[in-house]
């Protein structure tokens, strides 16, 4: 069977790019396709401080530039801004990937690394005020909110990290979480709560975002007392979890109730030749280092799969 590529990697974040370094070094003809921009969520990171070996931290942008260069160095072809629309396994076992621009490419193996996107807050005002004070990226939008009160919603690593970034700008941060404690890494929580600007609002959810042309306030509801309260904030930064970008393949592979792909320790899906890793999948943790490792494993598994097909 003749295909355009040995391996197509769908998604150009850390998992996909790590896979591309390894398939490239295995001398497999590799294509990485990315619907938006390389790096994915990591580009939003102002300082990556937990990737071993980068003692002084590195910005998500610089990290991504180096990563793309690394993948290209070993021969991977990379295409940005042209996403996969459909993935089909053909009768003879090869894969066809239809792209947004109407073209199609084929390969003997596919590695899925589409990642995930932030969960929306399903409340009135969210859509109308998105980009007008409602934000999912503090490093993109934070500087527009100098010396004004803001709210941060969520309690995991993203919420606490992005909330900490906002300390430099905001006059006050109402940090709203539905539990009575944050679940982020301890060092992050400590730094965050150390700031006198940060006021945790425990056991509460946001019920509405007010404003016409820009955010003017929010209404929260206490899960304990059921009482509501109004906060006059100018921005709401929302980090309440993630949705896996698995719609493209949900009928081909097994997923959990949240839509995350189920893979084994070799990053195999139930479809021979179709591998997956990173944020898209059910993983014990979602850290940069382990999603990179997923890409490495997926690449090596794909290499072994292709070797097996030769015999």
């Amino acid at each position: 069977m003749n295909t355009d590529y040995d391996v197509i990697i769908v998604g150009g974040g850390p998992t996909g790019l790590a896979a591309a370094v390894y398939t490239g070094r295995a001398l497999l003809k590799t294509l990485v396709i990315e619907k938006q921009f390389f790096g994915g969520q990591i580009v939003n990171s102002f300082a990556i401080d937990n990737y071993p070996g980068f003692a002084d931290g590195i910005t998500g942008y610089d990290f991504t530039q180096a990563f793309v260069k690394h993948a290209k160095r070993f021969g991977a072809e990379v295409r940005e801004g042209n996403g996969a629309e459909k993935i089909t396994k053909e009768a003879d076992g090869h894969f066809t990937v239809a792209l947004a621009d109407g073209s199609a490419v084929t390969a003997k193996a596919v590695i899925l690394a589409m990642g995930r996107h932030p969960r929306r807050l399903e409340v009135p005002g969210y859509d109308k005020l998105f980009g007008k004070g409602v934000s999912v990226c503090a490093t993109c939008d934070g500087a527009f909110f100098k010396d004004v009160p803001i709210a941060v919603v969520g309690g995991g690593n993203s919420a606490v990290e992005e909330g900490s970034f906002m300390i430099r700008y905001a006059s006050e941060i109402k940090s709203i979480h539905r539990r009575d404690h944050f679940t982020a890494q301890k060092i992050l929580i400590e730094e965050y709560l150390h700031s006198p600007k940060v006021r945790p609002v425990w056991n509460s959810t946001v019920e509405a975002i007010h404003g016409e042309k820009e955010v003017e306030g929010i209404r929260i509801r206490s899960l304990q007392t059921d009482k509501t309260e109004e906060f006059p904030v100018k921005a709401v930064f929302i980090f309440i979890g993630w949705i896996p970008n698995s719609a493209l393949v949900k009928d081909m592979v097994d997923t959990d109730a949240d839509g995350r792909l189920i893979v084994n320790e070799l990053m195999e899906t139930k479809v021979p030749g179709l591998f997956a890793g990173g944020d898209l999948c059910v993983r014990p943790i979602y850290q940069l280092a382990n999603v990179v490792a997923d890409g490495v494993q997926a690449a090596i598994s794909a290499e072994k799969y292709l070797e097996g097909k030769k015999h």
């Binding site: 938006q36 102002f46 940005e80 621009d101 007008k132």
Partner: protein
């Protein structure tokens, strides 16, 4: 320095954007915004494609406060299209398949 995307400022906004006789796509950006830097090459490619038909410019929101405040910009990247001095289209964030999506924002105004 980009070849096809000129930098505009609060100072020359009137003449370069509002006074332009072709449609103008404005990319509002800042150096600290990772996604803004990631799409810069795409905006550049779109600018080259529409050379002579439409103008593509960028405005640094760190160095220019007036224009972003006039148009209520609270997040970047924001892309806005102006025609005959009027705001006719805008998009907050990076659209998927950005080159096609951004091209379309301009094409709609050329039709």
């Amino acid at each position: 320095m980009s070849e096809f995307v000129a930098e505009v400022t609060d100072g020359n906004w009137e003449t370069e954007v509002l006074g332009s006789n072709t449609p103008v796509l404005v990319d509002f950006w800042a150096a600290w915004c990772g996604p803004c830097r990631m799409i810069a090459p795409t905006v550049e490619a779109v600018a080259e494609k529409f050379q002579g038909k439409a103008k593509v410019v960028k405005l640094n929101v760190d160095e220019n406060m007036e224009v972003p405040s006039t148009y209520g910009i609270k997040g970047i990247p924001t892309l806005m299209v102006f025609k005959n001095g009027q705001l006719v289209d805008s998009h907050v964030g990076v659209p998927p398949n950005a080159q096609a999506a951004i091209s379309q924002m301009i094409e709609k105004q050329l039709a």
